[in-house]
Protein backbone atom coordinates (compact mmCIF):
# COMPACT_ATOMS: atom_id res chain seq x y z
CA UNK A 1 0.00 0.00 0.00
CA UNK A 2 2.71 2.48 0.95
CA UNK A 3 4.58 1.61 -2.25
CA UNK A 4 1.43 2.22 -4.29
CA UNK A 5 0.92 5.55 -2.55
CA UNK A 6 4.55 6.54 -3.11
CA UNK A 7 4.28 5.68 -6.79
CA UNK A 8 1.04 7.68 -7.09
CA UNK A 9 2.54 10.71 -5.40
CA UNK A 10 5.55 10.59 -7.69
CA UNK A 11 3.02 10.81 -10.55
CA UNK A 12 1.05 13.63 -8.91
CA UNK A 13 4.14 15.84 -8.70
CA UNK A 14 4.72 15.28 -12.41
CA UNK A 15 1.09 15.75 -13.44
CA UNK A 16 0.57 18.87 -15.55
CA UNK A 17 -3.13 19.01 -14.71
CA UNK A 18 -2.29 18.99 -11.02
CA UNK A 19 0.07 21.93 -11.42
CA UNK A 20 -2.39 23.74 -13.65
CA UNK A 21 -5.07 23.29 -10.99
CA UNK A 22 -2.71 24.43 -8.23
CA UNK A 23 -1.67 27.56 -10.13
CA UNK A 24 -5.29 28.32 -11.01
CA UNK A 25 -6.40 28.00 -7.39
CA UNK A 26 -3.48 30.17 -6.23
CA UNK A 27 -4.52 32.82 -8.75
CA UNK A 28 -8.09 32.71 -7.38
CA UNK A 29 -6.73 32.92 -3.84
CA UNK A 30 -4.93 36.13 -4.82
CA UNK A 31 -7.81 37.52 -6.88
CA UNK A 32 -10.63 37.37 -4.31
CA UNK A 33 -9.06 39.34 -1.42
CA UNK A 34 -7.59 41.93 -3.79
CA UNK A 35 -10.89 42.32 -5.65
CA UNK A 36 -12.83 42.61 -2.37
CA UNK A 37 -10.35 45.17 -1.10
CA UNK A 38 -10.83 47.26 -4.26
CA UNK A 39 -14.63 47.09 -3.91
CA UNK A 40 -14.29 48.00 -0.25
CA UNK A 41 -12.27 51.11 -1.11
CA UNK A 42 -14.54 52.08 -3.98
CA UNK A 43 -17.79 51.65 -2.10
CA UNK A 44 -16.65 52.58 1.35
CA UNK A 45 -18.16 49.54 3.05
CA UNK A 46 -16.73 46.61 4.98
CA UNK A 47 -16.30 43.20 3.36
CA UNK A 48 -15.16 40.61 5.84
CA UNK A 49 -12.42 38.07 5.32
CA UNK A 50 -15.05 35.33 5.67
CA UNK A 51 -17.12 36.37 2.66
CA UNK A 52 -15.04 34.77 -0.10
CA UNK A 53 -12.91 32.30 1.82
CA UNK A 54 -14.97 29.26 0.85
CA UNK A 55 -15.40 30.24 -2.79
CA UNK A 56 -12.88 27.54 -3.74
CA UNK A 57 -15.61 25.02 -2.99
CA UNK A 58 -17.44 26.06 -6.17
CA UNK A 59 -14.41 25.53 -8.42
CA UNK A 60 -12.89 22.39 -6.93
CA UNK A 61 -15.48 19.91 -8.28
CA UNK A 62 -14.63 20.89 -11.86
CA UNK A 63 -10.88 20.78 -11.37
CA UNK A 64 -11.14 17.46 -9.56
CA UNK A 65 -13.32 16.02 -12.36
CA UNK A 66 -10.58 16.71 -14.88
CA UNK A 67 -7.77 15.69 -12.53
CA UNK A 68 -9.28 12.39 -11.35
CA UNK A 69 -10.44 11.47 -14.87
CA UNK A 70 -6.96 11.92 -16.28
CA UNK A 71 -4.91 10.74 -13.33
CA UNK A 72 -6.72 7.42 -13.10
CA UNK A 73 -7.53 7.12 -16.81
CA UNK A 74 -3.80 7.25 -17.58
CA UNK A 75 -3.30 4.17 -15.41
CA UNK A 76 -5.42 2.24 -17.87
CA UNK A 77 -4.12 3.77 -21.10
CA UNK A 78 -0.42 3.48 -20.15
CA UNK A 79 -0.69 0.04 -18.59
CA UNK A 80 0.25 1.30 -15.10
CA UNK A 81 -2.73 -0.60 -13.73
CA UNK A 82 -1.49 -3.87 -15.20
CA UNK A 83 2.01 -3.28 -13.84
CA UNK A 84 0.60 -2.71 -10.36
CA UNK A 85 -1.12 -6.09 -10.44
CA UNK A 86 1.89 -7.87 -11.88
CA UNK A 87 4.06 -6.70 -8.98
CA UNK A 88 1.42 -8.06 -6.62
CA UNK A 89 -0.70 -5.03 -5.68
CA UNK A 90 -4.15 -6.09 -4.47
CA UNK A 91 -7.17 -4.60 -6.13
CA UNK A 92 -8.56 -3.12 -2.92
CA UNK A 93 -5.19 -1.53 -2.16
CA UNK A 94 -4.95 -0.13 -5.70
CA UNK A 95 -8.43 1.38 -5.42
CA UNK A 96 -7.90 2.87 -1.97
CA UNK A 97 -4.47 4.24 -2.83
CA UNK A 98 -5.93 5.97 -5.89
CA UNK A 99 -8.77 7.41 -3.82
CA UNK A 100 -6.30 8.66 -1.22
CA UNK A 101 -4.03 10.17 -3.89
CA UNK A 102 -6.92 12.05 -5.52
CA UNK A 103 -8.05 13.23 -2.08
CA UNK A 104 -4.57 14.47 -1.28
CA UNK A 105 -4.34 16.29 -4.61
CA UNK A 106 -7.70 17.95 -3.88
CA UNK A 107 -6.54 19.04 -0.43
CA UNK A 108 -3.29 20.45 -1.81
CA UNK A 109 -5.15 22.41 -4.50
CA UNK A 110 -7.59 23.74 -1.88
CA UNK A 111 -4.66 24.77 0.28
CA UNK A 112 -3.15 26.49 -2.76
CA UNK A 113 -6.22 28.75 -2.60
CA UNK A 114 -6.45 29.19 1.16
CA UNK A 115 -2.82 30.10 1.87
CA UNK A 116 -2.48 33.11 -0.49
CA UNK A 117 -6.05 34.12 0.42
CA UNK A 118 -5.08 34.38 4.08
CA UNK A 119 -1.65 35.92 3.45
CA UNK A 120 -3.21 38.75 1.41
CA UNK A 121 -6.63 38.77 3.03
CA UNK A 122 -5.62 39.28 6.65
CA UNK A 123 -3.68 42.53 6.01
CA UNK A 124 -6.24 43.81 3.46
CA UNK A 125 -9.56 42.76 4.99
CA UNK A 126 -8.81 42.09 8.67
CA UNK A 127 -9.45 38.88 10.56
CA UNK A 128 -12.39 36.46 10.48
CA UNK A 129 -15.72 37.65 11.88
CA UNK A 130 -17.26 34.27 12.56
CA UNK A 131 -16.40 32.31 15.66
CA UNK A 132 -13.75 29.59 15.59
CA UNK A 133 -16.20 26.73 16.25
CA UNK A 134 -18.60 27.72 13.46
CA UNK A 135 -15.74 28.33 11.06
CA UNK A 136 -14.10 24.95 11.70
CA UNK A 137 -17.51 23.26 11.38
CA UNK A 138 -18.04 24.78 7.95
CA UNK A 139 -14.47 24.01 6.93
CA UNK A 140 -15.04 20.34 7.79
CA UNK A 141 -18.36 20.30 5.91
CA UNK A 142 -16.77 21.90 2.83
CA UNK A 143 -13.91 19.41 2.91
CA UNK A 144 -16.36 16.52 3.19
CA UNK A 145 -18.59 17.88 0.40
CA UNK A 146 -15.58 18.20 -1.92
CA UNK A 147 -14.50 14.70 -0.92
CA UNK A 148 -17.91 13.43 -2.06
CA UNK A 149 -17.03 14.61 -5.56
CA UNK A 150 -13.56 13.01 -5.33
CA UNK A 151 -15.06 9.70 -4.23
CA UNK A 152 -17.59 9.71 -7.07
CA UNK A 153 -14.98 10.69 -9.68
CA UNK A 154 -12.62 7.98 -8.45
CA UNK A 155 -15.43 5.46 -8.69
CA UNK A 156 -16.21 6.47 -12.28
CA UNK A 157 -12.60 6.68 -13.43
CA UNK A 158 -11.71 3.32 -11.87
CA UNK A 159 -14.63 1.56 -13.51
CA UNK A 160 -14.38 3.03 -17.01
CA UNK A 161 -11.26 1.71 -18.63
CA UNK A 162 -11.21 4.15 -21.54
CA UNK A 163 -9.40 7.35 -20.61
CA UNK A 164 -11.43 9.72 -22.81
CA UNK A 165 -14.78 8.20 -21.83
CA UNK A 166 -13.77 8.22 -18.17
CA UNK A 167 -12.69 11.87 -18.24
CA UNK A 168 -15.87 12.97 -20.05
CA UNK A 169 -18.05 10.92 -17.69
CA UNK A 170 -16.41 12.55 -14.67
CA UNK A 171 -16.99 16.04 -16.10
CA UNK A 172 -20.61 15.33 -17.02
CA UNK A 173 -21.49 13.61 -13.73
CA UNK A 174 -19.73 16.37 -11.77
CA UNK A 175 -21.62 19.08 -13.64
CA UNK A 176 -24.94 17.29 -13.17
CA UNK A 177 -24.30 16.77 -9.44
CA UNK A 178 -23.38 20.43 -9.11
CA UNK A 179 -26.23 21.90 -11.15
CA UNK A 180 -28.90 19.54 -9.81
CA UNK A 181 -27.82 20.55 -6.31
CA UNK A 182 -28.01 24.26 -7.03
CA UNK A 183 -31.24 24.11 -9.02
CA UNK A 184 -32.84 21.54 -6.74
CA UNK A 185 -31.76 23.54 -3.70
CA UNK A 186 -33.39 26.69 -5.07
CA UNK A 187 -36.66 24.88 -5.89
CA UNK A 188 -36.73 23.20 -2.50
CA UNK A 189 -36.01 26.43 -0.68
CA UNK A 190 -38.92 28.17 -2.36
CA UNK A 191 -41.17 25.20 -1.62
CA UNK A 192 -40.06 25.09 2.02
CA UNK A 193 -40.79 28.80 2.35
CA UNK A 194 -44.47 27.84 2.58
CA UNK A 195 -44.29 24.59 4.58
CA UNK A 196 -48.03 24.56 5.35
CA UNK A 197 -48.72 23.83 1.67
CA UNK A 198 -46.62 20.63 1.71
CA UNK A 199 -47.65 17.23 2.97
CA UNK A 200 -45.57 15.86 5.86
CA UNK A 201 -43.88 13.20 3.71
CA UNK A 202 -43.04 15.60 0.93
CA UNK A 203 -41.69 18.10 3.38
CA UNK A 204 -39.36 15.62 5.04
CA UNK A 205 -38.15 14.40 1.63
CA UNK A 206 -37.43 17.99 0.61
CA UNK A 207 -35.61 18.73 3.84
CA UNK A 208 -33.55 15.58 3.41
CA UNK A 209 -32.57 16.43 -0.19
CA UNK A 210 -31.78 20.02 0.74
CA UNK A 211 -29.03 18.88 3.07
CA UNK A 212 -28.13 15.67 1.22
CA UNK A 213 -27.32 16.81 -2.35
CA UNK A 214 -23.63 17.77 -2.50
CA UNK A 215 -24.29 20.67 -4.91
CA UNK A 216 -26.96 22.06 -2.62
CA UNK A 217 -24.52 21.78 0.29
CA UNK A 218 -21.66 23.48 -1.53
CA UNK A 219 -23.65 26.49 -2.72
CA UNK A 220 -24.77 27.21 0.85
CA UNK A 221 -21.49 26.35 2.51
CA UNK A 222 -19.54 28.75 0.30
CA UNK A 223 -21.72 31.54 1.71
CA UNK A 224 -21.11 30.15 5.22
CA UNK A 225 -24.80 29.45 5.46
CA UNK A 226 -25.31 26.13 7.24
CA UNK A 227 -28.07 25.64 9.79
CA UNK A 228 -27.29 21.98 10.43
CA UNK A 229 -23.59 21.43 9.71
CA UNK A 230 -23.41 18.10 11.53
CA UNK A 231 -26.24 16.69 9.42
CA UNK A 232 -24.52 17.83 6.21
CA UNK A 233 -21.22 16.35 7.35
CA UNK A 234 -22.83 13.00 8.15
CA UNK A 235 -24.63 12.87 4.81
CA UNK A 236 -21.36 13.56 3.00
CA UNK A 237 -19.62 10.86 5.03
CA UNK A 238 -22.35 8.36 4.09
CA UNK A 239 -22.02 9.16 0.36
CA UNK A 240 -18.22 8.91 0.52
CA UNK A 241 -18.36 5.56 2.32
CA UNK A 242 -21.02 4.22 -0.07
CA UNK A 243 -19.06 5.29 -3.15
CA UNK A 244 -15.81 3.82 -1.78
CA UNK A 245 -17.35 0.50 -0.76
CA UNK A 246 -19.29 0.16 -4.02
CA UNK A 247 -16.15 1.11 -5.96
CA UNK A 248 -13.96 -1.47 -4.22
CA UNK A 249 -16.56 -4.23 -4.58
CA UNK A 250 -17.18 -3.60 -8.29
CA UNK A 251 -13.51 -3.03 -9.04
CA UNK A 252 -12.57 -6.35 -7.45
CA UNK A 253 -14.89 -8.19 -9.81
CA UNK A 254 -14.18 -6.09 -12.86
CA UNK A 255 -12.74 -7.78 -15.95
CA UNK A 256 -9.58 -5.72 -16.45
CA UNK A 257 -8.38 -7.64 -19.54
Amino acid sequence: MSKLLRANFARIWKSKIFWFGTVFMTALGIYFPVQNYIIMQKENRVISLDSAFFMFALVMPFILAVFCGFFIGTEYSDGTMRNKFIVGGRRTAVYISNLLSCTAAGLIMSAAYAVPYLILGVPLLGSFHSGAAGFIGILLCVTAAIEVFTAVFTLIAMLVNNKATGAVSCIIVGTLMFISGIYGGLCIRSALAAPERLSAVRRSVYEFLYDFLPGSQLIRLCNMNADRPLRMFLFSAVIIAAAAVAGVLIFRRKDLK
Binding site: I39, G73, K163, A164, A167, V168, I171
Partner: protein, 281 residues
Protein backbone atom coordinates in the same frame (compact mmCIF):
# COMPACT_ATOMS: atom_id res chain seq x y z
CA UNK B 1 -15.24 14.82 -50.57
CA UNK B 2 -18.45 12.86 -51.28
CA UNK B 3 -16.88 9.66 -50.01
CA UNK B 4 -15.61 11.39 -46.89
CA UNK B 5 -19.05 12.80 -46.18
CA UNK B 6 -20.67 9.43 -46.69
CA UNK B 7 -18.16 7.75 -44.37
CA UNK B 8 -18.64 10.44 -41.71
CA UNK B 9 -22.41 10.21 -41.80
CA UNK B 10 -22.27 6.43 -41.63
CA UNK B 11 -20.24 6.83 -38.44
CA UNK B 12 -22.67 9.46 -37.15
CA UNK B 13 -25.70 7.17 -37.42
CA UNK B 14 -23.83 4.49 -35.50
CA UNK B 15 -22.49 6.86 -32.87
CA UNK B 16 -23.85 6.15 -29.39
CA UNK B 17 -22.87 9.56 -28.03
CA UNK B 18 -24.88 11.26 -30.77
CA UNK B 19 -28.00 9.24 -29.96
CA UNK B 20 -27.37 9.84 -26.28
CA UNK B 21 -27.37 13.62 -26.95
CA UNK B 22 -30.60 13.34 -28.98
CA UNK B 23 -32.33 11.34 -26.24
CA UNK B 24 -31.11 13.79 -23.62
CA UNK B 25 -32.63 16.69 -25.57
CA UNK B 26 -35.97 14.89 -25.95
CA UNK B 27 -36.13 14.15 -22.22
CA UNK B 28 -35.05 17.69 -21.38
CA UNK B 29 -37.70 19.22 -23.68
CA UNK B 30 -40.47 16.98 -22.32
CA UNK B 31 -39.40 17.82 -18.77
CA UNK B 32 -39.56 21.55 -19.53
CA UNK B 33 -42.99 21.43 -21.17
CA UNK B 34 -44.51 19.07 -18.60
CA UNK B 35 -43.29 21.15 -15.66
CA UNK B 36 -44.61 24.32 -17.35
CA UNK B 37 -47.94 22.55 -17.86
CA UNK B 38 -48.06 21.42 -14.23
CA UNK B 39 -47.36 24.98 -13.10
CA UNK B 40 -50.16 26.18 -15.38
CA UNK B 41 -52.57 23.65 -13.85
CA UNK B 42 -51.47 24.58 -10.35
CA UNK B 43 -51.31 28.35 -10.52
CA UNK B 44 -53.63 29.09 -13.46
CA UNK B 45 -53.40 32.18 -15.64
CA UNK B 46 -52.82 32.65 -19.34
CA UNK B 47 -51.45 29.76 -21.37
CA UNK B 48 -49.14 32.20 -23.16
CA UNK B 49 -47.31 32.88 -19.91
CA UNK B 50 -46.31 29.24 -19.61
CA UNK B 51 -45.84 28.18 -23.22
CA UNK B 52 -44.23 31.37 -24.46
CA UNK B 53 -42.49 31.70 -27.78
CA UNK B 54 -38.89 31.47 -26.53
CA UNK B 55 -39.51 28.27 -24.62
CA UNK B 56 -38.64 26.17 -27.65
CA UNK B 57 -35.30 28.00 -27.95
CA UNK B 58 -34.66 27.85 -24.21
CA UNK B 59 -31.69 25.49 -24.43
CA UNK B 60 -29.71 27.21 -27.19
CA UNK B 61 -26.82 27.97 -24.83
CA UNK B 62 -26.75 24.42 -23.50
CA UNK B 63 -26.38 23.07 -27.05
CA UNK B 64 -22.81 24.41 -26.96
CA UNK B 65 -21.94 21.99 -24.11
CA UNK B 66 -23.83 19.02 -25.56
CA UNK B 67 -22.29 19.60 -28.99
CA UNK B 68 -18.85 19.90 -27.37
CA UNK B 69 -19.15 16.44 -25.84
CA UNK B 70 -20.16 15.00 -29.19
CA UNK B 71 -17.53 16.83 -31.27
CA UNK B 72 -14.70 16.05 -28.84
CA UNK B 73 -15.43 12.33 -28.82
CA UNK B 74 -16.36 12.02 -32.50
CA UNK B 75 -13.28 13.78 -33.86
CA UNK B 76 -11.01 12.38 -31.14
CA UNK B 77 -11.93 8.87 -32.28
CA UNK B 78 -10.63 9.69 -35.76
CA UNK B 79 -7.18 10.01 -34.23
CA UNK B 80 -7.35 7.23 -31.67
CA UNK B 81 -8.72 4.61 -34.09
CA UNK B 82 -6.49 5.64 -36.97
CA UNK B 83 -9.40 6.78 -39.18
CA UNK B 84 -7.54 10.01 -39.86
CA UNK B 85 -4.48 8.10 -41.12
CA UNK B 86 -6.63 5.90 -43.35
CA UNK B 87 -8.27 8.94 -44.90
CA UNK B 88 -4.91 10.51 -45.66
CA UNK B 89 -3.39 7.26 -46.96
CA UNK B 90 -6.09 6.78 -49.58
CA UNK B 91 -5.31 10.25 -50.89
CA UNK B 92 -7.84 12.71 -49.46
CA UNK B 93 -6.58 16.26 -48.99
CA UNK B 94 -6.48 17.66 -45.50
CA UNK B 95 -8.80 20.51 -46.47
CA UNK B 96 -11.40 18.02 -47.70
CA UNK B 97 -11.09 16.02 -44.47
CA UNK B 98 -11.54 19.18 -42.40
CA UNK B 99 -14.60 20.33 -44.34
CA UNK B 100 -16.20 16.89 -44.27
CA UNK B 101 -15.68 16.85 -40.48
CA UNK B 102 -17.11 20.35 -40.22
CA UNK B 103 -20.17 19.26 -42.17
CA UNK B 104 -20.87 16.29 -39.93
CA UNK B 105 -20.28 18.28 -36.72
CA UNK B 106 -22.56 21.11 -37.88
CA UNK B 107 -25.21 18.59 -38.93
CA UNK B 108 -25.03 16.85 -35.56
CA UNK B 109 -25.18 20.13 -33.58
CA UNK B 110 -28.14 21.34 -35.66
CA UNK B 111 -29.96 18.02 -35.23
CA UNK B 112 -29.40 18.12 -31.46
CA UNK B 113 -30.76 21.68 -31.36
CA UNK B 114 -33.72 20.97 -33.66
CA UNK B 115 -34.64 17.92 -31.59
CA UNK B 116 -35.20 20.16 -28.57
CA UNK B 117 -37.13 22.77 -30.57
CA UNK B 118 -39.41 20.27 -32.31
CA UNK B 119 -40.05 18.19 -29.17
CA UNK B 120 -40.94 21.33 -27.20
CA UNK B 121 -43.27 22.64 -29.89
CA UNK B 122 -45.04 19.31 -30.51
CA UNK B 123 -45.45 18.35 -26.86
CA UNK B 124 -46.50 21.93 -26.05
CA UNK B 125 -49.03 21.84 -28.87
CA UNK B 126 -50.43 18.59 -27.53
CA UNK B 127 -50.63 19.79 -23.93
CA UNK B 128 -51.54 23.45 -24.28
CA UNK B 129 -53.57 22.99 -27.47
CA UNK B 130 -51.82 25.66 -29.50
CA UNK B 131 -48.61 27.56 -30.09
CA UNK B 132 -49.03 31.09 -28.81
CA UNK B 133 -46.30 32.77 -30.76
CA UNK B 134 -46.00 35.17 -33.61
CA UNK B 135 -45.04 32.63 -36.28
CA UNK B 136 -42.90 35.10 -38.23
CA UNK B 137 -40.90 36.12 -35.18
CA UNK B 138 -40.42 32.52 -34.08
CA UNK B 139 -39.17 31.49 -37.52
CA UNK B 140 -36.71 34.39 -37.63
CA UNK B 141 -35.39 33.54 -34.13
CA UNK B 142 -35.14 29.87 -35.04
CA UNK B 143 -33.24 30.64 -38.25
CA UNK B 144 -30.81 32.84 -36.32
CA UNK B 145 -30.37 30.13 -33.70
CA UNK B 146 -29.38 27.66 -36.45
CA UNK B 147 -26.52 29.94 -37.51
CA UNK B 148 -25.43 30.37 -33.89
CA UNK B 149 -25.38 26.60 -33.38
CA UNK B 150 -23.32 26.26 -36.57
CA UNK B 151 -20.88 28.75 -35.07
CA UNK B 152 -20.53 26.56 -31.94
CA UNK B 153 -19.43 23.65 -34.10
CA UNK B 154 -17.11 25.85 -36.14
CA UNK B 155 -15.37 27.14 -32.99
CA UNK B 156 -14.95 23.74 -31.35
CA UNK B 157 -13.86 21.73 -34.38
CA UNK B 158 -10.39 23.35 -34.78
CA UNK B 159 -9.54 22.57 -31.14
CA UNK B 160 -10.58 18.98 -31.56
CA UNK B 161 -8.81 18.60 -34.90
CA UNK B 162 -5.54 20.00 -33.61
CA UNK B 163 -5.25 17.90 -30.41
CA UNK B 164 -4.38 14.31 -31.35
CA UNK B 165 -4.99 12.86 -27.85
CA UNK B 166 -8.65 11.97 -27.61
CA UNK B 167 -8.96 12.52 -23.87
CA UNK B 168 -7.05 15.82 -23.88
CA UNK B 169 -9.01 16.97 -26.95
CA UNK B 170 -12.44 16.21 -25.56
CA UNK B 171 -11.62 17.80 -22.20
CA UNK B 172 -10.27 20.95 -23.86
CA UNK B 173 -13.35 21.23 -26.06
CA UNK B 174 -15.80 20.78 -23.17
CA UNK B 175 -13.91 23.19 -20.92
CA UNK B 176 -13.74 25.78 -23.71
CA UNK B 177 -17.47 25.66 -24.18
CA UNK B 178 -17.92 25.94 -20.40
CA UNK B 179 -15.71 29.03 -20.35
CA UNK B 180 -17.62 30.55 -23.30
CA UNK B 181 -20.90 29.89 -21.49
CA UNK B 182 -19.63 31.44 -18.25
CA UNK B 183 -18.36 34.45 -20.20
CA UNK B 184 -21.84 34.90 -21.65
CA UNK B 185 -23.35 34.86 -18.15
CA UNK B 186 -20.77 37.27 -16.73
CA UNK B 187 -21.07 39.70 -19.65
CA UNK B 188 -24.86 39.60 -19.61
CA UNK B 189 -25.08 40.32 -15.89
CA UNK B 190 -22.39 43.04 -16.06
CA UNK B 191 -24.19 44.84 -18.89
CA UNK B 192 -27.47 44.45 -17.01
CA UNK B 193 -26.25 46.56 -14.06
CA UNK B 194 -28.10 49.90 -13.98
CA UNK B 195 -25.96 53.03 -14.10
CA UNK B 196 -27.80 54.66 -11.22
CA UNK B 197 -29.74 53.28 -8.28
CA UNK B 198 -32.96 55.28 -8.10
CA UNK B 199 -33.70 57.27 -4.96
CA UNK B 200 -36.30 55.58 -2.78
CA UNK B 201 -38.20 55.96 0.47
CA UNK B 202 -39.51 53.09 2.56
CA UNK B 203 -41.34 52.94 5.84
CA UNK B 204 -39.87 50.29 8.13
CA UNK B 205 -41.64 48.12 10.71
CA UNK B 206 -41.45 50.77 13.43
CA UNK B 207 -43.13 53.30 11.15
CA UNK B 208 -39.96 55.27 10.61
CA UNK B 209 -39.33 56.68 7.17
CA UNK B 210 -36.00 55.68 5.58
CA UNK B 211 -34.93 57.36 2.39
CA UNK B 212 -31.89 56.78 0.28
CA UNK B 213 -30.75 59.36 -2.26
CA UNK B 214 -29.98 58.52 -5.85
CA UNK B 215 -26.70 56.62 -5.96
CA UNK B 216 -24.19 55.67 -8.61
CA UNK B 217 -23.93 51.90 -9.03
CA UNK B 218 -20.26 50.97 -8.43
CA UNK B 219 -20.71 47.83 -10.54
CA UNK B 220 -21.87 49.75 -13.59
CA UNK B 221 -19.46 49.02 -16.42
CA UNK B 222 -18.49 52.15 -18.32
CA UNK B 223 -15.99 53.52 -20.82
CA UNK B 224 -13.74 51.25 -22.85
CA UNK B 225 -14.65 48.22 -20.77
CA UNK B 226 -18.33 48.65 -21.65
CA UNK B 227 -17.47 48.96 -25.35
CA UNK B 228 -15.50 45.69 -25.15
CA UNK B 229 -18.29 43.92 -23.27
CA UNK B 230 -20.88 45.14 -25.76
CA UNK B 231 -18.74 43.99 -28.68
CA UNK B 232 -18.29 40.55 -27.08
CA UNK B 233 -22.01 40.42 -26.35
CA UNK B 234 -22.60 40.85 -30.09
CA UNK B 235 -19.80 38.58 -31.31
CA UNK B 236 -19.51 35.52 -29.02
CA UNK B 237 -21.88 32.75 -30.13
CA UNK B 238 -22.74 31.81 -26.52
CA UNK B 239 -23.72 35.46 -25.89
CA UNK B 240 -25.82 35.39 -29.05
CA UNK B 241 -27.48 32.18 -27.87
CA UNK B 242 -28.22 33.85 -24.53
CA UNK B 243 -29.76 36.80 -26.39
CA UNK B 244 -32.04 34.45 -28.32
CA UNK B 245 -32.95 32.58 -25.15
CA UNK B 246 -33.61 35.72 -23.09
CA UNK B 247 -35.34 37.54 -25.95
CA UNK B 248 -32.71 40.27 -25.70
CA UNK B 249 -32.06 40.60 -29.42
CA UNK B 250 -30.33 43.75 -30.71
CA UNK B 251 -32.48 46.42 -32.38
CA UNK B 252 -31.26 45.15 -35.72
CA UNK B 253 -31.44 41.33 -35.43
CA UNK B 254 -29.33 40.90 -38.58
CA UNK B 255 -26.28 41.76 -36.43
CA UNK B 256 -26.37 38.31 -34.83
CA UNK B 257 -26.19 36.14 -37.97
CA UNK B 258 -23.62 38.50 -39.48
CA UNK B 259 -21.28 38.13 -36.53
CA UNK B 260 -21.90 34.38 -36.35
CA UNK B 261 -21.00 34.07 -40.02
CA UNK B 262 -17.84 36.05 -39.43
CA UNK B 263 -16.94 33.73 -36.52
CA UNK B 264 -17.64 30.67 -38.68
CA UNK B 265 -15.46 31.94 -41.54
CA UNK B 266 -12.58 32.99 -39.29
CA UNK B 267 -12.43 29.85 -37.15
CA UNK B 268 -12.77 27.60 -40.20
CA UNK B 269 -10.04 29.47 -42.07
CA UNK B 270 -7.73 29.27 -39.05
CA UNK B 271 -8.64 25.62 -38.50
CA UNK B 272 -7.86 24.57 -42.08
CA UNK B 273 -4.60 26.52 -42.15
CA UNK B 274 -3.32 24.97 -38.90
CA UNK B 275 -4.67 21.53 -39.75
CA UNK B 276 -2.82 21.60 -43.09
CA UNK B 277 0.45 22.41 -41.36
CA UNK B 278 0.02 20.07 -38.42
CA UNK B 279 2.46 17.21 -37.97
CA UNK B 280 0.02 14.29 -37.87
CA UNK B 281 2.71 11.59 -37.34
Amino acid sequence: MNKLLRANFTRLWKNKVFWGCIIFMVVDALNTVISQYMNFKRFGGEKEDYFYENLALGQTVAVSIIAAIFIGLFIGTEYSSGTMRNKLVIGHSRVAIYFANLAVCVAAAVMIHVTYVVTTLLSGLAMFGGIFADAGELIVLFAVSLIVVTAFAAILLPLSSLIPSKSAGVTTVIMTSFVLMMLAMVIHSALDEPEIYEAYTIIDASGEEISEPEMKNPFYVSGVQRKIYEALYDILPTCQAARIQLDDMPANPAVVPLWSSAVIILTTAAGTVFFKRKDLK
